[in-house]
Subunit: 413 residues, 2 copies
């Protein structure tokens, strides 16, 4: 079963916002065996939306439309969908008004007459109640194709998908199974890996696909199997996975269970009853911010020092001036002292430290742009790793954060 | 002049990665007067790519394709584009090999024979040299349509766009001007604003468009003008902007100059020669991480305390146990003490503190999920603001970080 996602709104096309909705919808549909065949972002323009709907209907059986449902004049999705279905009749849903009044009361907004328009749906639409916002979702079924229209506000869209759209799709269609298994590799590039596993890749059965997903210093290898019998797929995938691992045993670092690296580290720390703290310079607190993106992280993350200047390194973490003067603020020695002192001050099992230059410029007395030292202190030892992550700034920061998590994950906790 | 962006790769469609490339390309094209008419993400599949190219050519004059240029078997873009142009002849570019060898040497990778394939381009392609990676870009011009194929790795794509694609597009086409002006408003919802400015909006000239961009507690109103004469557009836009401001003077908080809120705050602090520090609990370091996303932020950001547990609040920021016991760890009083003590310890002009519950669960002795206190301490005073940002976790954290920046920006520094 194939789906297409249509996002409506100029703000995506002019680059004002990143379309994270499609990614989330793609992931959720995949889980229930629906593959997203195409994502199309189109303008808030009647003719364009109409042709996008027509094209999508020619390609897939499930069309998910997001955006353009606000009460304002630049939101034309609802009218355009009604036109698409030749549906000029409008039905009024008083429960939608009740819900809007309830929400406005909760947030102390006065109710506004413009909102009444939200309760009017084309007669062919099935109402999908949106408890979290003012614009209801709509479900249409015509010529064996499902059309779903959802608001573009991410948490409202997600609420509607979970409560209504996913269960309805599962009821409407007989869906195949899709299973993914992803191996994480470190240390070799895409092309080297490709040449090592070429013969095996050529011989894969046609219901199993391999994809290379390189990102910030690691390559994930994703195997996807699709078919009707879950057990058969699982067995075939397991067999291929074992063969793949036996071909590149030296670079396999683990499985990617669809969990972020933050979640993986969190699970490990929680399981072992260990705690962690951070001492961050050039990442400015991002390692901590990523740690706490996981619910329940207070079980293992105690806190951290963000020491962005030489002064705060001395003041907050007692890094001796002599070490900084002798080795420079971006050095193995400073990273080491940061990790050791952070660990002591926070009384944690693991402390991770970072000092480096993210660019774009370098001071006279510091090291090259892109140079980074990451330290990890435990009760037994302290280790420091040196990297050069090049440029630009944003990439250096992200690579550093990822690498810190990777180094922590690799520790034999 | 209209463009379409086609991104190729299953990883976007199955939701494994977010498509940030399209957003960036959209923004850059917009600046030079090219509007993105559609973004299409399609599968790594020959027939699908071919039909996407055909559809795009029927809609626009500039087609930018990203992804699928790796040396591995799942990357089929180059062959498929050659098929699209009936181009079976291949040209070999030795400079591409030289570049790859240089890159591999720099990163200590052994050169791999698979890479040789990167140097072979369809004969109709113009080589766009990619100094940052192994896959070159390609430029095609047929039937008054430009096709550009770029690698999917963001910083390689950006390098090629800036060095080659943007200048070539400007040379190839006579482009109109597009100007945007965006007002930031706080405190009222989209529908209330809409009803206040309805008559004015109806009367806008047809070359000026208004868009509502709500996000995390503020609504940006974006006016876009498009036409041939820059000066005429600027004057008309300025006039409409003044009228708009006069209709809603109570909620206008400033202009959005396309700068992030972090950059705006950074500019202000730098201009006034002020410094800032952070004391973060439930945001885990994200305020600091956003502060340092701006190059040169060490001029005003000294550092911060991430105090994720009660223990670290006491240990790192000397928050008295009595205050925590009496008012709870999520309280006005704790936020106040965090800001004051942080300011003293770091010797900064401004200290911003955050304590709250991002959810998804709440401990017995803490407050409601979504409740947040943000404190700001200066040499004159300390203020604490209370919010309830609801749920889910990610949204509460983002709203808190945004609100902290907004409150700082509103201070009369």
């Amino acid at each position: 079963m194939k789906a297409e996602i249509i996002t409506i709104g100029d703000e995506i096309l002019i680059g004002q916002i990143v379309d994270t909705n499609s990614q989330w919808i793609g992931k959720e549909l995949n889980k229930i065996g629906v593959s997203v065949y195409q994502i199309s972002s189109v303008q808030d323009e009647r003719a364009h939306i109409l042709s996008a709907l027509k094209e999508a209907q020619s390609r897939v059986n499930i069309v998910i439309i997001t955006g353009g449902l606000g009460p304002t004049k630049d939101d034309i999705t609802k009218k355009t969908i009604a036109t698409y279905f030749n549906d000029s009749h409008v039905v009024n849903y008083p429960e939608v008004i009740e819900n809007i009044k309830r929400l406005f009361e909760k947030y102390n907004h006065p109710f506004n007459e413009v909102q009444k328009y939200q309760a009017e749906l084309p007669s062919k639409a099935t109402l999908l109640m949106n408890d979290l916002g003012t614009a209801p979702g709509m479900w249409f079924y015509e010529n064996e194709t499902v059309f779903v229209s959802l608001p573009g506000v991410p948490y409202e869209m997600k609420g509607l998908m979970k409560a209504h759209v996913i269960p309805r799709i599962q009821k409407q269609f007989k869906l195949p199974h899709i299973i993914h298994k992803t191996i994480i590799t470190y240390g070799q590039g895409e092309s080297v890996i490709a040449s090592r596993i070429e013969a095996w890749e050529e011989a894969l059965p046609n219901f199993i696909k391999l994809a290379y997903l390189p990102s910030f210093g690691r390559v994930r290898l994703r195997l996807s199997a699709k078919g009707e019998h879950r057990k058969t797929l699982e067995e075939a995938l397991e067999k291929e996975l074992e063969t793949l691992k036996s071909l590149i045993p030296d670079i396999v670092a683990g499985y990617d269970e669809g969990e972020t690296i933050e979640k993986q580290l969190g699970n490990l720390l929680k399981q072992k009853g260990l705690t962690i703290g951070t001492a961050e310079s050039m990442t400015g607190g991002k390692i901590g911010a990523n740690l706490i993106s996981v619910p329940g992280s207070s079980a293992y993350f105690k806190g951290g020092f963000t020491v962005y200047t030489e002064e705060t390194k001395k003041k907050m973490l007692n890094i001796p001036a002599e070490i900084i003067d002798e080795y420079s603020v971006i050095s193995k020695e400073v990273a080491e002292a940061m990790a050791i002192n952070c660990r002591k001050k926070l009384d944690v099992d693991y402390a991770v430290s970072v000092t480096g230059n993210a660019g774009p410029t370098t001071d006279s007395n510091t090291k090259d742009v892109g140079q980074v030292f990451i330290g990890i202190a435990t009760d037994k030892e302290v280790e420091v790793h040196e990297f050069n992550f090049g440029s630009p700034r944003e990439r250096v920061i992200n690579k550093t954060v990822n690498k810190a998590f990777e180094l922590l994950l690799k520790k034999n906790m």
